[in-house]
Chain length 200, copies 2
């Protein structure tokens, strides 16, 4: 991507971009409360990808805060969180939505989903992966407590909140404006919305 380039990820859709080491992507929750599933892959070897389970083990946290990095399946930094104007509540625990999720919710026929959005976004770059890594779900809240229970809460992010991520290696970053419109993942009005991105 060229520095200064801006693009919009339409509601319910995905987009993948190539970043050079040192480049940054700002993901803007333009309308607020939109969850953005996020993935990253080593540009030189797409089988090496950003991994929530490796990151949690390496940094001993649920996910990185500003100044800390996500690591890959090879335990190397790939994306550093540079800035986060939201409440800082995100999710690293839950799989991307997929056709099976919507089937369980009673949907008949096609429903846009983040898993297919990743595949489609990578395909536009001529890439494919053999599986869907667990995503970093920006602005999504799945609260944990003392016991094993996890509790879904609508996002607390406000219009214009953003997260800036810096590439620590040449990589492909993919984002999906989550198409969930049945439960309150994207807020009480269950309405997926556009997300804006800027490269710098």
């Amino acid at each position: 991507m060229v520095e200064g380039q801006k693009f919009t990820v339409p509601a319910r859709k995905g987009r993948a971009v190539r970043l050079q080491r040192g480049q940054r992507i700002k993901v803007i929750n333009t309308y607020g409360s939109q969850v953005v599933d996020t993935w990253a892959f080593n540009a030189a070897d797409i089988s090496e990808c950003m991994s929530m389970e490796h990151t949690r083990g390496v940094i001993d946290k649920m996910y990185p805060e500003p100044g800390e990095a996500f690591v890959t399946t090879h335990r190397r930094p790939i994306l550093t969180v540079v800035e986060d104007t939201s409440s800082g509540d995100h999710d690293s625990l839950i799989a991307a939505c997929d056709r099976y999720r919507y089937e369980l919710l009673g949907v008949e026929g096609h429903h846009d989903n983040c898993t297919d959005n990743l595949a489609g976004a990578l395909a536009e770059l001529g890439l494919q992966t053999p599986y869907t890594p667990s995503p970093f779900n920006m602005f999504m809240i799945k609260e944990w407590g003392e016991g094993l229970r996890l509790t879904r809460r609508p996002p607390t992010s406000r219009p214009g909140d953003y997260v800036v991520l810096r590439a620590e290696m040449d990589c492909v970053v993919a984002v999906s404006a989550c198409p969930q419109d049945i439960v309150e993942t994207n807020g009480p009005d269950c309405t997926p919305r556009d997300v804006d991105c800027e490269i710098s």
Copy 2:
């Protein structure tokens, strides 16, 4: 596997077995405090596997308790937790150890690891997967709290504690007696030990 069959997974090593729907595997922490990384795959399509991130989303818990099931990447039940005589403290958050983990710990040259153990155990059945799913780490404790911090604790399991898992589809179950001997994952003496299994 034949009902009634018993086998030992040697310390630091892995083993995979085929289970028919309805069969059970009892994983016994024979000497106590040994972490057992556990995976499961649909026998008819190994690309469909037990998924921690899908399970957390489907059951809204960190991991299943007795009577509840792990689901696959297609969100279908694959293994039900039938019985658990341990404290019930396990881990679904952390990746299997791998060569990169031991390199970061300063190990030079080969070190047994759960990722290679899975690959080797599957290879003995003529199978391979394109990636290492995030495992269910039985008896491993990685505590979460109010914030983002995760804290490693030695296992609280006692000699003879066991977990019984029932296959909800014809599947391949793989276990690895974690070879971690540098940090206290397997207890304060940092000594990996054998694990015994029984099929019924």
